[in-house]
Assembly symmetry: C2
Homo-oligomer: 238 residues x 2
């Protein structure tokens, strides 16, 4: 390898390291938003919810910065093969993380309106468990990306099934609560939204896991995973 090439390679590595450090920071902020959003909801803590809402701006700003740096790196270093694939994965990850952050913000936004309504028994704790599960999946998928660990990514992908099951169970519960007492309807509509958004967060994290598998193995995982949201076909009588 000529000195010149060596120079180019390490410049790419340095750029990649900087981009990945920002990506991990973004991931950390999104993880915190998920946990804080769910905590704010459970304790009807309007202040914490406001913090989550405002925090989303920092996440969006970071997304823009990472995208710019990544595009700059592609333009400047003209990477090919795996190096390029790594950078294109970064761009997909920021898009997914931004959306997960948006869902967390939305969960926080609904806290103030739900604070005015009577609680629906058991649902807040169930939502927090779901959110916690998704946050752990996100943490692991970021680790899997950094370690290029396809096994861990596959594990994340499988765990999304649990999140889907939690969601399906809650959908049924919400229908029941609403039918029992129409005064539950408005609160259940909001809570159901939150449940669905957490389920969607899980889907986004699962997409990220599939990207890691693709990055490591060069092929997308087979359709081994069952589609989890069964509620498209569900009625209260099920």
């Amino acid at each position: 390898m000529s000195n010149n090439q060596q120079h180019i390679v390490s410049a790419y590595d340095r750029d990649l390291e900087a981009v990945q450090a920002m990506l991990m920071k973004m991931g950390g902020l999104v993880e915190a938003s998920i946990l804080d959003g769910a905590k704010a909801l459970e304790s009807r803590d309007v202040e914490l919810a406001e913090k989550v809402r405002l925090g989303d701006k920092a996440i969006d700003a970071l997304e823009e910065k990472i995208n710019e740096e990544t595009a700059r790196c592609i333009a400047l270093r003209a990477p090919v093969s795996t190096d390029l694939r790594v950078l294109l994965t970064v761009l997909r990850f920021t898009g997914s993380l931004e959306r997960v952050g948006d869902y967390a913000k939305n969960m926080a936004k609904r806290t103030s309106v739900l604070a005015e309504m009577r609680p629906i028994q058991g649902t807040d704790a169930a939502l927090r468990r779901m959110a916690r599960e998704v946050q752990l999946m996100l943490k692991d998928v970021l680790d899997a990306y950094i370690q290029r660990d396809a096994m861990l990514a596959e594990d994340v992908r499988q765990r999304d099934h649990d999140v889907d099951q939690m969601y399906n169970a809650m959908f049924r519960e919400f229908l029941t609560f609403m039918m029992e007492d129409p005064r539950n309807i408005t609160a259940c509509m909001h809570l159901h939204f939150i449940a669905k958004n957490i389920e969607r967060m899980g889907d986004l994290v699962t997409n990220m896991a599939e990207q890691v598998i693709y990055l490591v193995s060069g092929t997308m995982p087979e359709e081994g995973r069952q589609k989890g949201d069964e509620t498209s076909f569900m009625t209260a009588e099920d």
Copy 2:
């Protein structure tokens, strides 16, 4: 310009043209899915709904193909500046289109369960109007991209406000229907989901419009657009 450079330039142009042709095809398939999905729903046409569901596979396959071709073009031609930005926009567009297609598929999936329930007066036509509006926005944003027309993209962005207003009105209606008669609850939950998904399609198309503006002008549009979904704060008493 040397002959060699000219050769490189036109090879890039040829690649870009091929990628964009596939992108337009993908956009056309997604537009058809939106319209057919809404039509299937309104007429409770389970066969047409099934066609939409199956059609989503072609959309996904096209997304993968476009992404591969785009990555190949970046690796091979090492474009910089605007050329690179155009290709990175293609990658964002395929991601958004794939999601819009997914929402259309989901609308179709709910047709069979809704076919078993009594209709909720007026909502199917309202959903079809919303879907039609989003399909027109998508058509225009694809035109705006090809023509590099920032004005048209800005117009699309503004029209998302109408879609949001339609959604807000429907949310209120669904709450009322559910409170009037608990037998409406299950159907309204499904219909509300569909309405929210159409509203989300509008958001994705709006993101695409912002990408076009960024591509043409080099800056993201100001926050001039109001956030349209007000239902995070909404109760039936509003």
